[in-house]
Symmetry: D2
Subunit: 338 residues, 4 copies
């Protein structure tokens, strides 16, 4: 029973069916097809504002291309020290931007505290001897399975904008955040001051499709050239576009996120005192120690150890296609742990 | 009737079916799945030699990642002046390598002449004031629809190797070249001295899958790190891997290539004197002038103009799923042109 | 007797004396000193227009920083195929710009012909699949010791500007060009449409000082940040600034250039039929063949072979401190050659 | 009375005199002159081991080129959070390496604690999803005017080497460290496990000359190509080389460092309780608050505020040419502060 990552999931049958449905005929390539042409509209409807949306195949590409569009090569990108762009993208932000520097900030439960960002930004030099404060990147839901409330996002974005920074949101699990907050997707993006969003779909049911969403058309600038020269403009673009359309238009995004949130919450509840962070998305972080981790693995559960070895922590992620019985089995096993 | 590009084609039903077949269960991500694990074996069997093969989503990614693995940032990459890496990748080689310089060479019908490469290499400085000769990149089939014979490849590669360069082959239409030469895939790659191949499948029937194939394991070096930091390591990697397996193992690659070659040849024949280059793959280049181009377009044929406007040239590409009747219609139309 | 390069020259005593004169006291660093503060004024007076001028230590730095300010990473930089940025800077333009691609053009005697640039630019694609035409870089005096006339510069710059390119001039031997044309420095720069100039002083008598001169303040953009992060902002900046001030204000630039032009011209005259290019600056290119080159070397003359070995060509450069007797000896030797 | 930085200092008369002495005749350029040829020997004698030494004009260039030679573009460079490469080089490490990521570590008084580096390294992931641990960079003397003892350097370097990292030392004030420790220059470099040193001379009396010193010839690799393409290979290289020779061979380095250390120590003593860090080099950090800073400025002392504004800290740096009376005046003023 695999709780390793929502990356291990399959693709929704609806997604594959939609891909099969467009699989006939010769249609313009490189984003000139009719499905790609509908992306702006679909995302504008979704967010309640005119946006520009571009598809790429991976979350790393979405993040790094967004950052390369927002930051000069001598830019400073502020992020939580556990952000995916910091720890899991093999330096993609540095590569795509041409050398921008990450400025790491701590924060409880994976969230940046507005005050600590304010202080860090105030302390960041403005002289030309230093990298220039350019972007704030926040992750929603965070890497520790928590969610930013609109108020905090607004505060963070205001602080950033006051000094001329742009605000990027890594939304690899964006749907889970919306599901948890039970809000409108616009509430925690453009209404909170987010400038650009990496909109994740792959983890939550797509096959390989993410979008970079610009809430301000002027910010698009040379995004398309960056995407092309990074090898991220797909030739047979219809198949990626139709994944996103299906994901958005059928309500798939919300249905899947609500389900995985609900199941993760159940696991968190079963874990009792072992729980490390509030369960606000589809991830559960537990302090188990070595024996209990071994016991669970012996019982057939797969999951990742998390953080420094001696802390004995573990991460469980619920995938959109996780059978309810597996979750039930995990809950039972957790409750029975000594 | 679209003859714009083989990028406009759909994906083979066999490919989509194979993707659907693996679409169940939670399996390891990021290339750790069982299908990705079979790629080395499948490509080794295909080429008749132990190789390492890595999947990416686009041809630009395959080329640029291969070049970044072979060339230092101060390297010189020799290529035909009409190569895809030169004209159609928005500077991806410069981006991925960190600044390597392209050295462009002319050559009839899209092919580099071994002697002219030898002369260019001999003239390239060796001092540290110049970029350092690092890679020769050849395209097979070429951008002008022609094919290198094994003898010429061998001669080019020997020249390159004598001076310590590595040899990359852009095989976006590799299958078409093999089909034309009726040879073993190993004959025009490792047996001719090719070190690394961008193996194309997307144009010839896959949905979005290309492979970078290393014929010498030591050359792989840090390829996987380059791929990861470029955002080209797919999380749900099973779907890309299974495309390649299906493409290779069922003989799809050859079947499709033989068909498009045959149809393109028919078009070339119908074009008579207008033909600019021998038709050895699935592309046909014609000198038509403005009136005849307009006439064809008026008759419902879509194709790209090619080269400088005043030359009046046009390119027709046959896709794997091109209906035979469309080809027949085009032939008839060409034969009737004044 | 060394005619290898004007890089082999010493520094003018006036330059060293000026450096000694500012060598006391603790003064602000990193360009905040009073001498650096005078550069804009001095260069504005020199060019007859308000300019911004920045000092760096090498010509490669001047060129590459200018290009990085003018070109995006996906830019195309048009240049003569023998330009220093193409052949002698180890890929610095690609490095500093983050991957821009050089587009090489031929041209007699080291000069770009306006018509051939116009044709190349017209043929350069505008789609996002290609690098984007961004900069034209011309060299004045050229790498083959010739000089552009104002009319040709104007024509080139107009063509570039029509399509939104910026025009950079590599003026490593700018003084020699002005001396040859007997014109105002403004005539062949901003009055001809040049946007940014790499103003050379080192070859012509400075110790290590070049300036990047922006004829349009808006173009400066983030030049200073590029310079800093490239390690080209000198801490004890007074010494570099005072070199340029001395070079400009005392007329040194013109005196030295007139002398080396005159002496080179004498050598070119003595060479008779062997002369390959008009001698319009301080360089002389001769076709000598192997025996005559060996004879001259046997007689104690040092010079570089030039171009492909079989062509038997040689380059002689006159340095500002070249003793007149050495030039006389060379002339005599050339005249006596069989 | 300027205590802003040792960058404000003039150059030693001996240095300028040596430059004047080589200022005659045409000599080979680009490091082929006889003085450049003596650098390896001079530095080998200085360090008591065969080394390779290369001159550049700035400390930022020395650091960034060293790091680009040691780290791949996907590398992680560990450094103290107040290191110059982190805070004062406008992202040069990211630029020169092609995107390497800085991993910042805290540490009292500007020093990295061996245990905390060990822990950070142990926690750094090894998977290809993360930047790869590549380099440890230490600063000697540190940015806070303290010095590493040989024991700690050895411990740090051993930890680094165990995991295959290379160790770089930013020695912008290296002479001050040697003077403080009263040790042999080899003791705190290669005998402690340092692989590459940025050897500073400019701050301590040179005009513009730093060396990159490789203690293991194999590590030089492609350093010279990196230097060239970064525009840091000086054409008239004799003047930079002779600065370093004079600096080393006449004992200037030690004489100047001993003097500035001694004077800084005196200031630190006068500051009493205000002293923030041990004075082990030529820098003094004081907690003064706003009123006392204003009082000192009113009395004619120039210095930089340091750190977050509310902390009220100040930095005083003694330059090699600082008049003893200025130091005396500062001591008196400090002693008289309320």
């Amino acid at each position: 029973m695999r709780f390793l990552s929502d990356n291990t999931a399959s693709a929704c049958p609806e997604i594959l069916a939609a891909m099969a449905q467009v699989n006939h005929g010769r249609v313009p390539a490189y984003g000139e097809d009719e499905w790609s042409a509908r992306l702006d509209r679909a995302f504008s409807d979704f967010f309640g504002r005119e946006v520009r949306a571009f598809v790429v195949s991976t979350g790393t590409a979405a993040n790094a291309l967004a950052l390369a569009t927002l930051s000069p090569p001598y830019g400073a990108i502020f992020a939580h020290q556990e952000a995916h762009i910091v720890t899991d993208e093999c330096g993609a932000p540095g590569f795509f931007t041409g050398g921008a520097q990450l400025v790491l900030l701590p924060g409880d439960h994976g969230r940046l505290a507005p005050e600590s960002f304010r202080a860090a930004l105030a302390a960041h030099p403005t002289s030309l001897h230093s990298v220039q404060a350019a972007v704030l990147s926040v992750t929603q839901a965070t890497e520790l399975g928590t969610v930013y409330h609109r108020r905090d996002l607004t505060h963070l974005a205001e602080t950033a904008h006051e000094r001329g920074l742009r605000v990027h949101m890594d939304g690899a699990r964006f749907a889970n955040a919306v599901a948890f907050l039970n809000c409108h997707p616009g509430d925690i993006t453009w209404r909170s001051g987010i400038d650009v969003l990496s909109f994740g779909a792959t983890k939550n049911g797509a096959l390989a499709a993410e979008a970079v969403v610009f809430f301000e058309p002027a910010l698009v600038k040379d995004f398309e050239l960056h995407r092309k020269r990074a090898g991220h403009l797909l030739s047979k673009s219809r198949y990626a576009a139709v994944q996103l359309l299906t994901y958005l238009e059928g309500g798939l995004w919300l249905r899947n996120a609500e389900r995985t949130n609900r199941l993760a919450h159940r696991i968190g509840h079963a874990a009792g005192d072992a729980l490390l962070h509030p369960v606000e998305a589809n991830e559960v972080f537990l302090r188990l120690g070595n024996e209990r981790r071994a016991a669970l693995r012996g019982a057939g559960f797969e999951f990742y150890d998390w953080g420094a070895e001696h802390r004995g922590e573990a991460r469980f992620v619920v995938s959109w296609d996780q059978p309810e019985e597996e979750v039930q089995a995990l809950c039972t096993a957790l409750e029975r742990l000594p």
